[in-house]
Symmetry: D2
């Protein structure tokens, strides 16, 4: 195992960055913002990467693998380590079971060697694993057959057990349960069954764990989905108990929905558990965070930064990336996405909140929105780069990665994969 | 005041109806359904008409009034009486204050003479009434100014007082509060203020009243709306108390949203208060119920009929029409819509629920959905017509209305109205 | 090879159907409609089934195969024959190449034995076939690499050649070409390359063939799609020539789009080539035709029937089903869908077009839409059943299929398939 | 008449701007971009303001006027002059007839005194003007009654005549024609009538004029709109002739539609006539340009800048703002919007097109999209401010406007307006 090290910045690069940083510092100082404090917050920011994200994704039509696809969770952890080394922003990995099932001791050892930790565990009851006794074709935690529900509950408990051995502190539950036809499923009975099964899982949740549930409007079910929106997600979290919280995936909403408002509501009622970051234009496109509508990502962070000012010590929503990389090198997409998420966070930190509140109170809509936009349009790249520099990460992670030859090297080590019908993403 | 009477059916018409009814009865009997029982339920079905619906609606671009526009609430009540006489399905009228403000005794007298009662009262804080002290330009119940909030609360309490004098038992609150720009409003503070104001209203709600709140995704606010979806609506109802319930307007959702699922969730958690029926293709189009997607209307009633089997005596969601009639005679649209809603109800009654449950339990998606569709595609017109015949209503209400010359008559009595910019709907 | 025969109707079944048919006939006669003429048109109606539709579909998350999955095109043809025998409505099969590639003589022989013909050929350049030289990961007919474009052109020409050997008369081209990121592709250059490649295919199109191009808003590309909507599709057909026409898949549009209007426009400008029928609620859900919004399907046929009155002999748009059957027996879904499409056609035939035109001319919106709805709500099941009876098909095809034991039989003959990641649909 | 003059920048302000400009200049120079050349292009950029935009807009629910609402076109021109003086970016005004009908000589005199010119003329056949002979309730250019169509044609010709007297060179036609119910209108006949009427208008179009047609998905018609999308718009432009071009309003599309792609297609086929700039989240919200999704605005300009490199001298699409200002001072919104549009243009100028093409050719999706994003995230405010400084416009137009006391002054001169039902926007 050879871990990639970030190359040192050249003196020219560093000098240029310093000049840009100082010029920005001067502008921000005029607005009353101390740039170094912002840089320190940027440096402290972290987002987890998904183990499944380092493989090439696909659609139901096709999957087009790239060179050097990771063969197992150990390969995946190495790829994740590259991302963290070069960006300094992704210290933890989120596992998907049974895809990443392995000896816990070996996993801890490998992660430790790579300088990585483990984030939330993800269960999978939306596809059938080889050798699985009962099928999830017609649902899992909400299935009409109690045997299938019991199997799905047991699988989730197994995820918790593995997570405990790994030092994880959260279980994320996303199910594909739903229906494809009006009438196929009794919408109420299905949700009752889901809640009962979730109560069983919650009952065994360790005291220091959180249970994160994820809503999604549609896909893989195309008429109804059991956990279809934040309203249902909130009801789940409330029914289960204090450690049950809602996860917001940015691509899981109806067209035009105001996502930052959902974030605000969940915060207000104590139920925001975290995020699956990505971007989308049409459905659950799982595109790179900030690549389609960067202002939307900023507006989400605007709510988070605003909430942090009033929130108690328990307010620490999980930050995770959940993307499908169909046409890019997954490592490059994950690095870029981590930095875009960090960028939105930093931009949100620049909002002049005192001014904003004054404008809001006075119903000065134009100046209020201008205040947000002024923060958003600030080019904070020098702050992000300086934060990376301070942590020994790369000034330009994608460039450093390309120059490293990492992909070509692992392509030599890992056998080529053929396409197949659709990706498991 | 001359009230229109439904014309008697000719003997030929009645004979033809009887033959159609009997033929349908035979088909239904083969499915184990007794047609007379269905007809009796159809006859008992009622939906309230909105006082504002009998005037021609408009858009922000224009309003094109028709002949004989009602001048005041008394004219409106006469138009509503026509609808009820001819359809037998709309015994109650829902008032909008201050538009319909009038002496309660006179209102009761008039309604009584016309054989009408009063349904839910509707407050209006989305436009400024002439002489109003403070403006609702920047909100009402969620306004940053406590004076505006107090004014809006007082207005709602006035609506309750008037409603008590009229025998109404519910207040419907829909506000246009929201924002047009990111940052214009603090999403959380605005909702806190809204909840506080609603608590004041709820505190004075008579014991036998229900408080119905209505969510809407957008319009008139175009970036955020304080009560934007059923999730927020549910939180309101839960925060306020037992008599606070959610109203579902079929046109107030994001594109593609599964509305029947929202209905199911609200029933399950004891918070479905009722409906504003209409149809839509794009936004809050306020088109005639069932005119764009009749199957969706059926699926909503499918949930209601299913719920009635298990529900307690308190389950009686309010049925109201809320439409904007821009290009039709409003009386004709309201009659037709009332019958379409009745039709969906009757079709839902025909679903073979025993068979459906069996198919659902067995995950026989094809037969489950076929079971719904078989009920939907039954042409229940003979049942509806027979129900009308039994109540002395018109066999063909639109035809009877046209033959009556009612519109021409009131056009002679009521002065012509000029268009104006946009309608108040 | 054993072909399923439709069971004869019992005398009771036939007598009941006769009574229902006569009762409906009487009602229709009152409206001036001769039921037998409608039944004859219903009997003449045909829609093609897709070879790929008889296998279980899937999503990018999973595929859950059923018992007796067809192993190859010969198995698929047998399944298609069952559909046609029992419904009498699907005499032709549409092939997908290279999935269905086989010796043309063997294919003709098998189809002939089964009483089937061949409809449009479908090329596949949205996934990589085993052994394929160049990858379609970044596009096919619009790829930046001329070598890839040439390969895709050659593949389409191969489809034509095979189709000629089979008696097909059309090539359907759907490509997944597009981009996942703003900037990934130059939108104009990509379309220029696509057009150039299509011109090469069109140049070799046999004189008696039609070239059908299919637009789709998104998926598998998630930021831009080269042939994204009917506007672009129209431009293609116009650029290529007279025999190039547009194919409309009902699930390939933006939310809320008025599809029947697109159909009308393409007819008006001589470019409607045909349909891929299915239904959807969210995206390209590929659900069973008429299962989510049956009125929309009716409104499409309303345009077709209206156009037929004025159209020349060349107006014969192709009718094909394109669905993904994830939770049902594909044979059952295809039979039911064929009948739903037939139903919409028959309902559209019942529209009183003289009355409708009068109402339209007079801007009598209410009676115009009532005229459509009256036709739609007519329960035409007796007409469809009588048409099947007359052709020796099954009264109740799904019931007959279930009773036949066909699925269990082929499950014994065809080895079980394991799930896999995502379906090729 | 007193025209507002932009205040001179203080020496401190100017010095700070100079430092920011130089720092940005250094960064851009490293990318090979000469900042002064960009500043000159920024200074040359112009967008027209709509006369109707300086009054407060409204919705169908209400209109809440602000102080100092313009009473007539002469007041409106004064407001427009303020916008141009302070931003230096809006030299022309687009008129709406009959709202702005006045003596042409007086209009020219006033505009000349204010330093303004006239952009495209806009006809209005979506509302009934006082005293108008026939109503547009059921359509205008596509009405079933030839008399109404003739009236609408005559009105458009009158707009041209007035525009000729004013020095305008374009007519913009947007109609609200459509239907609210399936069946209300024959979709094909309506479009035929529309085309015939448009041909009459085009026949009289002066040789040096352009005819711009605008599509819109819905509103005020809620089931179908005659010119519903760019496909239909393109057909109109092609049918009419060379000087007929398509206008793209950014808020007139279906949810999720890729607007920049439509822009690209219209450019490719020689039919892009221009823009109505605004922003939207849900429907035709008419919000301030760039306020909801600034990246989308940038992507549109990315297409324009790309096209300019290849385009002939005739490529000069019209830039117009079309917004409804319901909660802001319209002058402030229009100034801010003009600058946001200018900002998007400047950002698009910064795209490294050589690098982009290389990445596109190599299917390097990540670097291609990063190239766009790098340009977008550049804070070009110093460039815009320097361009304003060079033209004698205000460094900070909104601040200068607020300090000027203009609104208070005109509020004293212009009588207060009461709200009314819905705005004419």
């Amino acid at each position: 195992m050879s871990v990639l090290e970030a190359p040192a910045a050249t003196s020219v690069e560093e000098a240029e960055l310093r000049r840009d940083y100082d010029a920005l510092g001067e502008r921000l100082a005029r607005r009353g913002v101390a740039i170094d404090a912002i840089r320190d917050k940027a440096a402290a920011f972290a987002v987890a990467v998904p183990s499944w994200g380092v493989g090439t994704g696909g659609t139901r039509f096709a999957r087009f693998p790239g060179p050097g696809e990771p063969r197992d969770i150990f390969d995946k952890l190495e790829d994740c380590a590259v991302i963290h080394r070069l960006t300094g922003a992704t210290p933890r990995v989120s596992l998907h079971i049974p895809w990443d099932k392995a000896d816990p001791a070996a996993l801890r050892q490998k992660a430790g060697d790579l300088g990585l930790g483990f984030d939330a565990m993800n269960s999978n009851t939306f596809s059938d694993a080889p050798g699985q006794k009962l099928s999830y074709k017609f649902g899992s935690l909400s299935h009409t057959d109690p045997g299938v529900r019991a199997q799905a509950v047991a699988h989730n408990l197994e995820c918790i057990a593995l997570g405990q051995a790994l030092g994880s502190k959260a279980l994320t539950v996303w199910v594909g349960d739903g229906s494809n036809f009006p009438g196929q499923s009794n919408l109420t009975r299905a949700f009752e069954r889901y809640l009962d099964a979730m109560r069983e899982i919650y009952r065994d949740l360790p005291d220091d764990w959180r249970l994160l549930t994820e809503h999604k409007m549609y896909e893989p079910a195309f008429y109804s989905t059991v956990v279809q929106d934040w309203g249902t997600n909130y009801l789940i979290a409330r029914e289960l108990g204090e450690r049950a919280l809602c996860l917001v995936d940015l691509g899981h909403h109806a067209p035009n929905v105001n996502i930052e408002m959902i974030v605000a509501r969940l915060i207000q009622f104590g139920k925001l558990g975290g995020f699956h970051f990505n971007d989308s234009k049409y459905g659950d496109d799982d595109l790179d965070a900030g690549s389609v509508d960067p202002y939307r990502l900023f507006l989400v962070f605007n709510e988070l930064v605003d909430a942090e000012r009033h929130a108690g010590p328990d307010f620490h929503p999980a930050h995770m990336i959940d993307q499908s990389h169909n046409v890019t090198d997954p490592i490059e997409s994950l690095m870029t996405s981590a930095m875009e998420i960090q960028r939105a966070h930093v931009q949100a930190l620049l909002v002049d909140r005192g001014a904003l509140e004054g404008f809001q109170e006075a119903n000065d809509a134009l100046m209020a929105t201008t205040t947000l936009r002024q923060a958003f349009r600030t080019d904070v790249e020098p702050i992000l780069a300086m934060a990376r520099l301070g942590k020994g990460a790369a000034l330009d992670p994608v460039l450093a990665y390309r120059r490293s030859g990492y992909r070509a090297r692992v392509a030599g080590e890992r056998p080529a994969v053929t396409g197949g019908g659709g990706g498991i993403v």
